[in-house]
């Protein structure tokens, strides 16, 4: 009898099979059920805690105003962003909104991965943006600037300069002399990265441009090499005697940390250095000044400034909520949100729109930087700067950088493979002759371009 009851309680074979079928159906249906609400995924690399806090607040406010729309934000480090994006592209799981570099837009746009954003830009105002930063690609604007990244402000320790009786250097020779005079024991004159990464390529490029070279001419023919490239590498080799020993591993943050630990006297880098110091080491602000970049052989110290863009993925690569994503973009890039965003890392996050740049709240700065308008002005001054996308055929005339207006779709593949950075490594770490390093770099660039054209 007992045995019978136990047997009765056992699920029948049919019931088990039904259970399997139900579980399978649920598994297949779950993603669609979960996606019943509109979800906008948002991937960026602004990982500063105040900036992330701003985004969280803005997202909460947007969701409150737009019931039924959920924003899922993910912040990743700059170093891993491209890898994540390319892997998601391959898997067809791209977030609706994501951070994109200018030189990546061509390839992504040509493959139909991006949704045009002309309507969003038109609503904000085309004349609000610097023209080179919203240049259409094949007649469409497929990304929208959310901030301008200026990586080349010449920050220096005024107290150390005064103690040595040194003035801010006007040219490369004076820069070398200053770096040498300010190096002693474990105190270093200056810093630049020698890693296999984009920021090392960026440093080399600004010296290369300052020596009068460009990677491409205005017809987008590769012209990299020659005397300017050799001079830039020779300069970096000479300067490397006065940098911390660990530069071969340096990434963006290390350039800030090196300055904040007071181990380097000169740091050419973005105003993130200042915004971080303002929050974590405010006493250093009083001892810090900014100056013009030392002029290279071409007569100008060319800097690097580019638009940091957000892009909207197309349905082809996994985007699902395009209309809601556009609405969210418009919301965070305008009004008080744009000012609040810029103030989260002031004066590092330079607003791309003229109206926000002239907003009285922004001009008043943050309490930590009150009274140091000179530091903000240095950060906001993007004159004589280039970026990878706009450098093709640029010239230096009468002490001013003149661009050709040509947007370069080819250079991204060279920079993504860190070819300029590897040249710097060969010269600085392996003592390779700069001429040989340039020849190696040139041949790598040619091979990369040939392969890119084939694909």
């Amino acid at each position: 009898m007992t045995m019978h009851r136990v047997a009765d309680r056992r699920p029948s074979r049919r019931a088990v099979l039904k259970g399997f079928a139900a579980a399978g159906a649920f598994t297949l249906a779950a993603p669609h059920v979960a996606r019943a609400a509109e979800v906008v995924r948002f991937l960026h690399d602004e990982t500063d805690p105040p900036t992330v806090e701003f985004f969280n607040k803005a997202i909460a406010a947007f969701q409150a105003d737009n019931p039924g729309v959920t924003i899922e934000m993910e912040a990743v480090g700059s170093a891993g962003r491209l890898q994540k994006v390319t892997a998601m592209l391959n898997a067809g799981t791209m977030p609706e909104i994501f951070k994109i570099l200018p030189e990546e837009r061509f390839s992504f746009g040509a493959q139909g991965f991006l949704e045009p954003l002309d309507d969003v830009i038109a609503e904000i105002g085309v004349d609000q943006y610097p023209a080179r930063m919203i240049a259409p690609i094949d007649g469409k604007r497929i990304s929208i600037p959310y901030t301008i990244g200026h990586s080349s402000v010449f920050w220096y320790r005024d107290d150390l300069f005064s103690a040595k009786g040194i003035a801010p250097p006007a040219d490369w020779a004076a820069y070398l002399a200053a770096a040498k005079a300010l190096t002693s024991g474990d105190q270093y004159g200056t810093v630049f990265p020698v890693n296999k990464n984009r920021v090392t390529s960026l440093f080399f490029s600004q010296y290369y441009w300052s020596a009068g070279g460009t990677y491409f001419d205005k017809d987008l023919k590769l012209v990299f090499g020659g005397e300017p490239a050799v001079k830039a590498l020779e300069f970096q080799k000479a300067l490397s005697k006065f940098v911390p020993p660990g530069v071969a591993n340096y990434v963006n943050n290390d350039l800030v940390n090196a300055y904040l630990t007071e181990k380097v006297a000169i740091d050419i880098w973005a105003a993130r250095l200042i915004s971080t110091a303002a929050l974590n080491k405010p006493d250093l602000i009083a001892r810090t000044k900014a100056a013009k970049r030392p002029a290279g052989p071409a007569g100008v110290g060319v800097g690097f400034a580019n638009a940091n863009n957000l892009a909207l993925s197309s349905e082809k690569v996994g985007s699902r909520s395009i209309a809601a994503a556009k609405k969210f973009l418009l919301y965070i890039l305008t009004g008080d949100r744009a000012v609040d965003f810029a103030l989260t890392a002031y004066p590092h996050l330079i607003p791309p729109t003229a109206s926000v740049r002239s907003d009285p709240r922004l001009l008043a700065g943050t309490p930590q930087l009150a009274g140091r308008r000179d530091l903000a002005d240095a950060s906001f001054d993007i004159s004589n700067t280039l970026d990878f996308e706009s450098e093709a055929g640029a010239t230096i005339e009468n002490g001013t950088v003149v661009t050709t207006g040509v947007s370069n779709p080819l250079i991204g593949t060279i920079i993504a493979r860190d070819i300029p950075a590897q040249m710097v490594q060969r010269v600085v770490l392996q003592d390779l002759d700069p001429t040989e390093a340039v020849a190696w770099g040139r041949s790598e660039m040619e091979a990369t371009l040939a392969k890119a054209r084939k694909i």
Partner: protein, 293 residues
């Protein structure tokens, strides 16, 4: 006699597990084989069939041989140091002394730490500006300027092997302690009565007992070191230059820096062939050692 219905039921019941295994193992494996014979770039949905061209390109590339040599140095360095240190520590911990339990816990701690935590701590300790290692060496006067532990092409491989040994030698200790405790003590007593010294007792009693476990542990550490990615990537990123670029790092670079997914898959399959060859050698050696014993 098994009913047909029961067989069907068993098959259906097994289906989820089989599907899971297929999804997690077979599908990626087939995908890698398929990718290795295509020219396919990340971000592009489809590739073109190129036969063995990716393998030819990889085998003709100096980067591959640099990575192969680095992998050899990395694996041999790891296995030799870990096995030597692990054996020494296991023999030490086998002895009776005060605070032995505490010593065991301390020695095993690195293995329990998450890799990311361990690596970040070591990176900080090796830091060129504020690292305690350089600072300590400078304070005691051994060096005048900070050493480039992770940033000199000459020192980087040594440093990553050092960190890996610190992290994984405790695994060897755990494996060997178990077998050491299983050796009958009366064998040592008898050997002592026969006049055998400590080395003799180790050679003739300890070693034969622990050899199978020792070899198996060495094999596991060889395989795990061979495809180890995280420690090297997090410490040096494969640099400086290519000083610590091992084959797994090369796969990553090919896929995510060069966007050459086909080439990356080809390197991964060559790695698979190499590790299978190592396994063959290991099992041959094991059979020989078992025959001798």
């Amino acid at each position: 006699m098994v009913h047909r219905g029961d067989r069907l039921f068993a098959a259906v019941a097994l289906l989820p597990s089989v599907a899971l295994v297929l999804m997690l193992i077979a599908v990626p494996a087939i995908a890698i084989f398929a990718l290795s014979v295509q020219e396919v770039s990340l971000g592009r949905a489809s590739g073109t069939f190129v036969g063995l061209a990716n393998f030819r390109a990889v085998l003709a590339s100096p980067d591959f041989y640099t990575a192969l040599i680095n992998t050899f140095i990395w694996v041999v360095g790891n296995v030799v140091f870990e096995m030597a240190l692990g054996l020494g520590l296991a023999l030490l911990l086998q002895q009776g002394f005060r605070f032995r339990s505490l010593a065991r816990a301390v020695i095993l701690a690195p293995y329990l730490l998450p890799t990311i935590v361990a690596v970040l701590v070591w990176r900080y300790m090796f830091d060129d500006i504020v690292g305690i290692v350089n600072r300590g060496l400078m304070v005691v006067g051994l060096i005048e300027r900070p050493l480039q532990w992770l940033t000199s092409p000459r020192m980087a491989m040594f440093s990553v092997i050092l960190v890996s040994t610190w992290k994984f030698a405790p695994f060897v200790v755990i494996a060997l302690l178990g077998i050491l405790q299983a050796i009958p003590l009366d064998q040592y007593d008898a050997a002592k009565l026969d006049g055998a010294n400590a080395f003799g007792r180790f050679l003739h009693i300890t070693l034969p007992h622990i050899l199978p476990v020792f070899l198996l542990t060495a094999l596991l550490r060889t395989i795990w070191s061979f495809h180890k990615f995280d420690i090297i990537y997090l410490l040096t990123g494969g640099g400086p230059i290519d000083a610590t670029t091992t084959l797994p790092i090369l796969v990553y670079f090919k896929a995510f820096h060069d966007f050459d997914v086909g080439g990356a898959a080809a390197v991964a399959l060559i790695m698979l062939a190499l590790i299978l060859a190592c396994l063959g050698v290991y099992f041959a050696l094991l059979r020989r050692s078992e025959r001798r014993l």
